[in-house]
């Protein structure tokens, strides 16, 4: 998260704490909105934007890693294996963090906030860690104005966000194990060799990593950590949706669950029509179709 943006959010929250009529609250809110809108994309298609973003980010990682490696070289242009592995580990940690958070779509509102809060130079996980206390603070401020049921739902959602964070850390630990195992393997492969090509180094790494990853993937603790991460992300999203349903219902709007129920009934009717059509098609002409559909009993 950019420091400037974080400060603006804090200032806005402080003004809110002082009361809704604070003369500065609306000014801070406008500034915050303006800052957030500056980060909007330039109208490139999502696919291309994603491709550009990923490649640019990767290129940056690549460049940083190369620079780090060159710094570690001595006058004879050689590097200690431990230093190389350590530098590579840091390089990979960055890639893992990016990968885990980009993998699991958060509720749109939360994901959008995170995407805006997280600058190119700041790791994504920092955004998530900072977001939860901010939301807790916001909930504390709004508590007197909220109905108990809404408040309870919001608290549940923050608990789910915390659970997601725990599941994410548990999964990151698994990735950390894989990275360590793969780095040991890489170290063995590199012993006595020379590095003249960074791409070859990466390809060697991919092979070492995939071998370790496939081994770990067959273990139950990895499958559980992965499943827990998915389930925590989904539970969090479901909680947010229930919150929205509650708000929509209060406004007299059709909720998503009501819409789903209508769809379910529509499919039931469609199946019945299809069955009747079939019976009609197979019945001898002049005789009405005999329906065995359970609805006939009603």
């Amino acid at each position: 998260m950019s420091e400037q943006l974080l400060n603006m959010m804090r200032q806005w929250l402080e003004q809110l704490e002082q009361g809704q009529n604070s003369p500065h609250a609306s000014r801070y809110w406008q500034e915050l909105q303006s800052q957030l809108s500056q980060n909007a994309s330039e109208g490139v298609s999502p696919l291309q934007a994603d491709l550009l973003y990923r490649i640019t980010r990767q290129s940056e990682h690549f460049r940083h890693f190369a620079a780090d490696l060159l710094k570690l070289c001595d006058e004879q242009q050689s590097i200690a294996p431990e230093q190389l592995i350590d530098s590579f580990r840091q390089h990979l940690d960055q890639l893992s963090l990016d990968w885990v958070l980009s993998n699991w779509p958060l509720p749109e509102q939360l994901a959008a906030t995170l995407a805006l809060l997280t600058g190119q130079d700041s790791p994504l996980h920092a955004g998530l860690k900072q977001l939860n206390p901010l939301l807790q603070q916001l909930l504390g401020i709004l508590e007197p104005q909220l109905q108990p049921s809404v408040l309870q739902q919001l608290r549940n959602n923050l608990n789910l966000l915390e659970a997601f964070e725990r599941a994410r850390e548990r999964y990151l630990l698994q990735l950390g194990h894989i990275n360590s195992e793969a780095l040991v393997r890489l170290g063995h492969e590199l012993a006595g060799s020379s590095i003249s090509d960074l791409e070859q180094l990466h390809h060697l790494w991919f092979r070492c990593y995939e071998e370790c990853y496939q081994q770990r993937l067959n273990q139950q603790d990895y499958q559980q950590a992965f499943g827990a991460l998915c389930n925590a992300a989904m539970a969090m999203r479901q909680g947010w949706q229930q919150q929205l349903d509650l708000l929509y219902a209060r406004c007299g709007l059709v909720t998503l669950s009501q819409y789903d129920e209508l769809s379910r009934q529509h499919h039931e009717l469609r199946r019945r029509v299809r069955m009747l059509e079939r019976q009609q098609g197979s019945a001898p002409q002049g005789h009405p179709p005999h329906s065995k559909d359970s609805h006939d009993a009603n």
Partner: protein, 356 residues
């Protein structure tokens, strides 16, 4: 430990090259790359489903129409990516009449579509429509990946409507040790997934596929991307079309996904000796009566060869043939080797089983 020699100059050059490539692809990646499908017309629509009939390009050598049943995952245009890379065009060139089911993009209102609905309603109506259109009593059914599972089930449910069956890169035995997708998803609560999302988002599914080989499909691919995006026009076009296809991942109808995972992943139903319940019937794979051509990739990481070849012992003594392509999952559908060798082999196999 021995110090590792480093070619500092070369590394410096490579870092600069990477930056340069990232700058250059900025304009390339923004260029548009239209998909040019083989001429066809829409024969039937139902919700987001479209049944396509492709225009013949030569005199017909097979009378019975070939209906391609693609998976619900991803989009079928990988079979017709470009005029230079098109399985459909190559099949047409062999004189095979080709129809294709494009399942489309299920909307929120489709979340209650079940596996039964897909088989006994949507797929069955497509088969009927193709038979009427081609004045044929039955079809040659070709199922791709998950579509292969659908095709096997459909052939068991409606044996009289399928003359010959072709399965491509189809997961049959999902318990094999290298079937990573099953292991990776074992602890995922599918009921929670359908309750949460309604339909499982395609984006999430795509990430799941990447998680099967995260380094290879993630970082390694992206490292190669910058170089490919700065190559000649044909390479750039092909790369961007493949990327478009990979990202074009429809959501999966919730109930049908729940049924599919439960039956074929968790219960490994196709391998069950006792059979499995589907669409009001008990189905047993060993009772399959149609001639079967099973095509799979030797290097398929998504559906490992042994998951597909499990059909062979199950159908022992029946008219079973197989073609093993030296390719991965996508390579079987779109790779140069497959496009050259498979269509004539499929035509010959069908011709030998064409009614007199």
């Amino acid at each position: 430990m021995t110090r590792i020699k480093v070619d500092a100059l070369r590394i410096q050059q490579q870092a600069e090259q990477q930056q340069d490539l990232a700058r250059r692809i900025n304009s390339t990646a923004r260029s548009t790359c239209p998909h040019l499908p083989t001429p066809h017309r829409v024969l039937m629509r139902s919700g987001s489903l479209q049944l396509l009939k492709f225009e013949p390009v030569t005199e017909s050598r097979i009378k019975t129409p070939l209906l391609i049943c693609y998976a619900l995952v991803n989009r079928p245009w990988i079979l017709d990516l470009s005029p230079q890379h098109s399985m459909i065009r190559s099949l047409l060139a062999e004189g095979i009449p080709v129809y294709l089911i494009d399942w489309g993009y299920p909307g929120r209102c489709d979340r209650h579509l079940t596996l039964d609905d897909y088989l006994t309603d949507l797929l069955d109506r497509c088969v009927d429509k193709v038979c009427t259109d081609s004045d044929s009593k039955s079809v040659n059914l070709m199922g791709v990946c998950q579509g292969g599972v659908f095709s096997l089930c459909y052939s068991l449910l409606y044996p009289q409507k399928v003359l010959n069956l072709i399965t491509m890169v189809t997961p049959v035995d999902t318990s094999v040790s290298r079937f990573t997708l099953n292991r990776l998803t074992r602890e995922i609560d599918i009921k929670l997934a359908t309750q949460t999302y309604g339909n499982l988002p395609g984006l999430l599914l795509n990430e799941l596929f990447t998680a099967l080989q995260p380094m290879r499909l993630g970082l390694e691919k992206r490292l190669a991307a910058s170089r490919q995006l700065c190559a000649d026009d044909a390479t750039v076009q092909h790369y961007l079309l493949m990327e478009q296809w990979l990202q074009d991942c429809p959501d999966l109808a919730g109930e049908a996904l729940h049924d599919f995972i439960g039956l074929f992943f968790r219960d490994n139903a196709l391998m069950s000796r006792q059979g499995f319940k589907l669409a009001g019937s008990t189905l047993r794979l060993k009772t399959l009566s149609q001639p079967l051509l099973n095509i799979y990739g030797k290097r398929d990481q998504l559906v490992p060869p042994e998951a597909s070849s499990a059909l062979k012992p199950t159908l022992k003594g029946k008219d079973y043939s197989e073609i093993i392509v030296d390719a991965g999952h996508i390579g079987v559908l779109n790779g140069g080797r497959a496009l050259k060798t498979l269509p004539p082999q499929i035509r010959t196999w069908l011709q030998e089983r064409e009614p007199a």
